[in-house]
Amino acid sequence: MALFSPPISSSSLQNPNFIPKFSFSLLSSNRFSLLSVTRASSDSGSTSPTAAVSVEAPEPVEVIVKEPPQSTPAVKKEETATAKNVAVEGEEMKTTESVIKFQDARWINGTWDLKQFEKDGKTDWDSVIVAEAKRRKWLEENPETTSNDEPVLFDTSIIPWWAWIKRYHLPEAELLNGRAAMIGFFMAYFVDSLTGVGLVDQMGNFFCKTLLFVAVAGVLFIRKNEDVDKLKNLFDETTLYDKQWQAAWKNDDDESLGSKKK
């Protein structure tokens, strides 16, 4: 994102008429074309919108959050572009405030107002999840004081389990199943070409069945290279506390388990 904005801003200063063609040839996504079109229309030689764009490009979330009237309930990527530009002036005004608290039109009385998330008569759980994620991100970066007058009461369990699975687990499951199927097909072909044992006979062999089991378990637990180290560290962690307690019963010449640098 940040890579694209500087070239646009510099070119817009030089040749306003050139922008639409420039943007269409270089950038394919709708978002950026919208951005350049709106800037061309408001091109009055003022540097503030263009300068502000490169500032706000890395922080789209906070801007949207601060301008509730402009953002629509279903937060889609295409609409954030228009909200961004209008929000620019708002951001510059707000920086004079000492403390900026989390605000959103849909966050009422310490919880999300589900009625505002409706789409076609049903609650759009995806947008609830995204809204809560934005709130948590905001609070992680700008921790706020708790207050007895405005307690936060939101509980993530109101979002049904299938919404979570559909959003997070299904895509990854699809990926893993696809990989497993490809590997499985080629391994079966390979073994068949080497040994002449067909697929059905391979499944009957105990050794092959064991390999299959190991492969499935491996894919479940080790999905990235870092997972191997993570699992090892996890195992060490679970047994460390016990070892520290049993140290009193060990011989003196055993290694000391105190003050281990983790």
Binding site: V130, T145, T156, Y241, Q244, W245, Q246
Partner: protein, 467 residues
């Protein structure tokens, strides 16, 4: 264990002889020590002789809850007890929370307890607040005490039972040459005048209980080894009266990366002010930053308060590798008996002091015989058997729920569940890991996994947003 008992009674039948008995028996260690140990350690358990003209002399170094409880039990058991405490009016920086069972087990008078906390608020990183305490019965509470009051009371009781309380600073000890030679303690005695440098003195005792806290000198002199420790930093803040009514019987716990990467920030009510603090093991250098963040999170509720005191203290994270050596045993913070997750230490200090003293009383048959390492090992066995499950459970809780912000969010969500609250308070107030109903346990496990999955899914969403 059975063989050592019969050996002792055998010497009892013989007429008391002051000469050293050369009757040495090697008791196989597997009889007297828990089976789960991997190595076979042969302890020479000598038949100890009766002390013909004197009682057993035991010194307790440190006069906090551990030292006070140990000294009282020793004195009541008929042993000549000397308690050495360096600062009689010490206000140990401490959360000051004691469980209900401590009041009963140690017969504490109710006026020692400044406040009875019956409600707690857990606040997640995204300020989701959960009230816990609905399941508490009328008579159940967490007692908040001032350490200077509690410590002084326990020391007084020890003195009334017959212990000698000395105001002095323990310096070092000379180890005995033989198995029944005395330990020589070097200490500086203060004669009551403040500012005086005190006089160096020595004392000979048969056994030592090290109850001198996290920076224990006794531990150093027996090469007990080091432990990882957390720094707890606390500010005592006097807030306006109308804000104090909110904290009348309520304590708060704040979790989050801003407040502490591996512990929690707290607001505990004391007698007429609140203690706002936080702690950490891994990022000790940033403790001031964490303290500012804690104050920021509680800002609305402590606005207008004045800081009357700033204090800090180390908290052990796990026991030292060696908790005893010959006739010296460590108890309390000196041994490292602080739980993970909650950082609770007062009850365990007092209980371990009492348990160690009981083992000495039993091993010496009320002060009539010399003790040896085997008697002190019995205290370790009993301690580990009684409390290791509690420590393990709290360790697991810390590892699972304090790792990251999503885990903390899940933790706070779980605390809203009534079953969790009941189990938590039961195990905290009465120190027993009570088995609940299996169906509820399964529901709890499913809910925990659900909460963790949701919180981690939200974190992935957050990461997607930051890209």
């Amino acid at each position: 264990m059975a063989t050592t008992v019969t050996l002792k009674s055998f010497t009892g039948l013989r007429q008391s002889s002051t000469e050293q008995t050369n009757f040495v028996s090697h008791v196989p260690s597997s009889l007297s020590l828990p089976q789960r140990r991997s190595s076979l350690r042969v302890t020479a358990s000598r038949a100890t002789p009766k002390l013909s003209n004197r009682k057993l002399r035991v010194a307790v170094i440190g006069g906090g809850p551990a030292g006070g409880a140990a000294a009282e039990t020793l004195a009541q058991g008929g042993i000549e007890t000397i308690l050495i405490e360096r600062k009689m009016d010490n206000c140990k920086p401490c959360g000051g929370a004691i469980p209900l069972c401590m009041v009963g087990e140690f017969n504490l008078p109710l006026d020692i307890i400044d406040r009875r906390v019956t409600k707690m608020k857990m606040i997640s990183p995204s300020n989701i607040a959960v009230d816990i305490g609905r399941t508490l019965k009328e008579h159940e509470y967490i007692g908040m005490v001032r350490r200077e009051v509690l410590d002084a009371y326990l020391r007084e009781r020890a003195e009334k039972s017959g212990a000698t309380v000395i105001n002095g600073l323990f310096l070092k000890m000379d180890h005995p040459e033989n198995w029944d030679s005395p330990y020589t303690l070097h200490y500086t005695e203060y004669d009551g005048k403040t500012g005086a440098t005190g006089t160096k003195k020595t004392m000979e005792v048969d056994a030592v209980i090290g109850a001198d806290g996290a920076n224990s000198r006794v531990a150093k002199s027996i090469d007990a080894g080091d432990y990882d420790y957390a720094i707890a930093f606390q500010e005592r803040i006097r807030i306006p009266d109308e804000k104090m009514t909110y904290y009348e019987d309520l304590a708060e716990m704040y979790v989050g990366d801003d407040v502490s990467p591996d512990f929690y920030g707290w607001v505990f009510p004391k007698c007429d002010h609140v203690a706002v603090g936080t702690g950490t093991v891994t990022h000790k250098g940033d403790i001031k930053k964490f303290q500012l963040a804690t104050r920021n999170r509680a800002k609305d509720k402590i606005l207008g308060g004045k800081i009357i005191r700033v204090e800090a203290h180390p908290i052990p994270e796990h026991p030292r590798p060696r908790r005893l050596s010959k006739r010296v045993a460590l108890v309390g913070d000196a041994a490292g008996y602080v739980t993970k997750c909650s950082g609770e230490g007062i009850y365990f200090a007092a209980k371990s002091g009492r348990m160690c003293a009981e083992a000495i009383v039993e091993g010496s048959q009320n002060g009539k015989k010399m003790i040896d390492e085997g008697d002190l090992r019995k205290y370790l066995e009993k301690w580990d058997k009684t409390y290791l499950p509690t420590y393990r459970v709290l360790d697991v809780l810390q590892k699972v729920f304090y790792r990251s912000n999503p885990a903390r969010e899940a933790f706070v969500e779980m605390c809203a569940d009534e079953y969790v609250q009941k189990m938590t308070f039961d195990s905290y107030l009465y120190k027993r890991v009570a088995p609940g109903s299996p169906l509820e346990d399964i529901k709890l496990a499913v809910n925990t996994i659900g909460s963790l999955v949701r919180a981690n899914a939200l974190r992935r969403e957050i990461e997607k947003l930051s890209v």
